[in-house]
């Protein structure tokens, strides 16, 4: 069945974007007037990075999830495959936004986000000099472009073969996908960590944590599952996806539940080890967060952990559209706050607060994201026809 974007959805995305841009403009004006506009550049750069990364992460997480299904030759997901693809289809737009943000930061010599991009700061800092082999503008951009190119090429291939499978059938494409999916996971295993170090961990340039990449990745994955389950529920409610039954929803709900645990587990692992060892160069990271972001930081952890745990624990809750959407909306915002603190704590520090600019840019990119995903849904039939496991998926019952 062909999907058509409803008029209301179109209006919603436009309103989101217009209101968002308006708020951003107000935010810029407010910040420019405050303290001689001292923080304006940093705050704008930080916000660009937060929202472009957060939504890029959803697209990337979706691509990863698709590759995971390919590599494991899963059957159940065949009926929701087009939803996964539509969300992964945000990736090219996400890449453009990421490039713009990173370009802006690079041209502003780090904009107080990436201190290692600022030659003056590096000159007076021995630790940054030691890291400058890895953390320098040239190598940073080489890595960034390699990540983007890899993700984009895999995405193009997956999409092309998915549409081709609908036309041709057979199992050749399935086995190609299987190999490419596994290959993607190999690249992703390395890149998900290193890209998190490059884009986010290097904001706190003196600090490092080997676990950081997984932590960022887990947050990304959890957000992705929330988006996938809510998009599926939305389509289901509009009368599309006739082959998606309660069991598919239940499975997506379980993924949401499990990935929020994965995220909490990694958050806690990182926190507890650093708290226990109490080494000055490691604890500085948490000192900032405890001092300047106390309520927000621990509140964010609590909602991202406790909400899905308590509300999604029972079997019935994972099949209930209302509960899933409610929990999803809450933890979606929770994970945005997580990204916000990741980026703002190391750059703005105590001067950071959620104001017009933060809300504005979030709404703008959210509107764009919804628009792109809905447009992607119209570009291909919502039900795949020749997936080898389609029959299994239609009869999926747990």
């Amino acid at each position: 069945m062909e999907f058509k974007v409803t008029k209301n959805a179109n209006i919603l995305t436009i309103v989101l974007m217009v209101v968002g841009l308006l708020f951003t403009a107000i935010g810029i004006a407010v910040e420019a007037g405050h303290d001689h506009g001292h923080h304006l550049g940093t705050r704008l750069a930080g916000n660009l990075l937060i929202d472009s990364f957060f939504f890029f992460g959803i697209g990337l997480g979706s691509l990863f999830f698709l590759a995971l299904q390919y590599a494991t030759e899963t059957g159940w997901y065949a009926t929701v495959k087009r939803v996964i693809e539509a969300v992964a289809g945000y990736l090219p737009v996400g890449i453009i936004l990421m490039t713009v943000s990173l370009l802006y930061i690079t041209l502003a010599d780090g904009a107080h986000l990436y201190l290692w991009m600022d030659a003056k700061k590096v000159a007076e800092d021995e630790l940054m000099q030691g890291k400058s082999v890895y953390l320098n503008k040239g190598f940073f951009w080489i890595r960034t472009l390699v990540y983007f190119a890899t993700y984009y090429i895999f995405w193009k291939g997956f999409r092309k073969r998915s549409l081709l499978e609908d036309a041709e059938g057979g199992t050749t494409i399935h086995f190609t996908n299987y190999k490419k999916g596994a290959l993607f996971l190999v690249f992703f295993a390395v890149f998900s960590s290193t890209s998190a170090w490059d884009w986010i961990m290097s904001i706190d340039v003196h600090w490092f944590s080997t676990l950081f990449g997984w932590y960022v990745f887990a947050g990304m994955w959890c957000t992705t599952m929330v988006v996938l389950v809510t998009t599926t529920l939305y389509l289901k409610k509009k009368g599309y996806l006739p082959n998606v039954n309660e069991s598919h929803i239940h499975d997506l709900g379980k993924w949401t539940f499990a990935t929020s645990f994965l995220w909490s587990y990694l958050w806690f692992s990182q926190f507890m080890l650093i708290w226990y060892a109490n080494i000055p160069e490691e604890v500085t990271y948490y000192m900032t967060r405890i001092k300047d972001f106390n309520f927000m930081y621990f509140g964010m952890f609590l909602i991202n952990f406790a909400f899905p745990m308590i509300l999604l624990m029972s079997r019935d809750a994972k099949r209930h559209a209302g509960v899933l959407t409610f929990v999803g909306a809450i933890i979606l915002f929770g994970h945005w706050v997580d990204v916000y603190i990741m980026i703002m704590a190391g750059s703005m520090g105590e001067a950071a607060y959620i104001g017009f600019m933060e809300i504005g840019l979030l709404l703008t990119v959210l509107g764009l994201f919804i628009k792109v995903v809905l447009t992607n849904l119209t570009k291909a039939p919502l039900s795949v026809v020749n997936h080898p496991f389609l029959d299994e998926s239609i009869h999926h019952d747990i």
Binding site: F268, F271, M272, W275, Y276, A277, N278, M313, R315, D397
Partner: protein, 178 residues
């Protein structure tokens, strides 16, 4: 009360499932199915209620959490205050983070052991107890469906046998039980 039990043996789980569907549609009550592995989708066909093992798991887990908390508080704070890595040790709350891994592990252990024991007890399959299955081959490659005459008072043994014949069993057995 004396009761007659009919055992129909199959060599394929799908055949048994289709047979059970057919019988239930005719109003026969299938009281039990014995199988070497769980047969997907048989529960709703023969009318088995959803398991409440999950609720028990939750209760066992909560018990584990409580036991771990009480015990660690007593060991590490009250009885013999421990100072590990210079952490403040006068209250449990200040050391909370250090206790979370143990709490978690103990919770999982209690839930897992509790569930396993409950499962064995409920099915009367604790080690040493007599076997519950009518035929040792149901632990290998055979599937047995059990019909009780007392639950199928609308049918005679002959009628049941006649119905069973259409389901493609490989062996049929009858027993008098108390």
């Amino acid at each position: 009360m004396a009761d007659k039990v009919i055992y129909a043996m199959y060599d394929d789980d799908d055949v048994l499932k289709d047979g059970a569907k057919k019988l239930v549609a005719k109003g026969v009550k299938v009281s039990e199915v014995f199988s070497p592995f769980p047969i997907h989708g048989i529960d709703p066909i023969i009318g088995i209620k959803n398991t409440r093992l999950g609720i028990m798991a939750f209760l066992y887990a909560i018990t584990g959490t409580m036991l771990a908390t009480i015990a660690m508080r007593y060991f590490m704070i009250e009885d013999w205050p421990m100072n590990v890595g210079g952490k403040p040790n006068n209250t449990y709350l200040q050391n909370m983070l250090a206790f979370i891994p143990v709490t978690f592990e103990f919770t999982v252990m209690c839930a897992a052991h509790g569930m396993a024991l409950t499962y064995f007890l409920k099915n009367k399959t604790l080690p040493g107890l007599p076997a519950q299955n009518p035929d040792p081959r149901t632990t290998d490659d055979r599937f047995v469906m059990e019909l009780r005459l007392s639950e199928n008072s609308n049918f005679t043994v002959e009628e049941l046998n006649e119905l069973l014949k259409t389901t493609g069993y490989v062996e049929l057995d009858q027993k008098e039980v108390n």
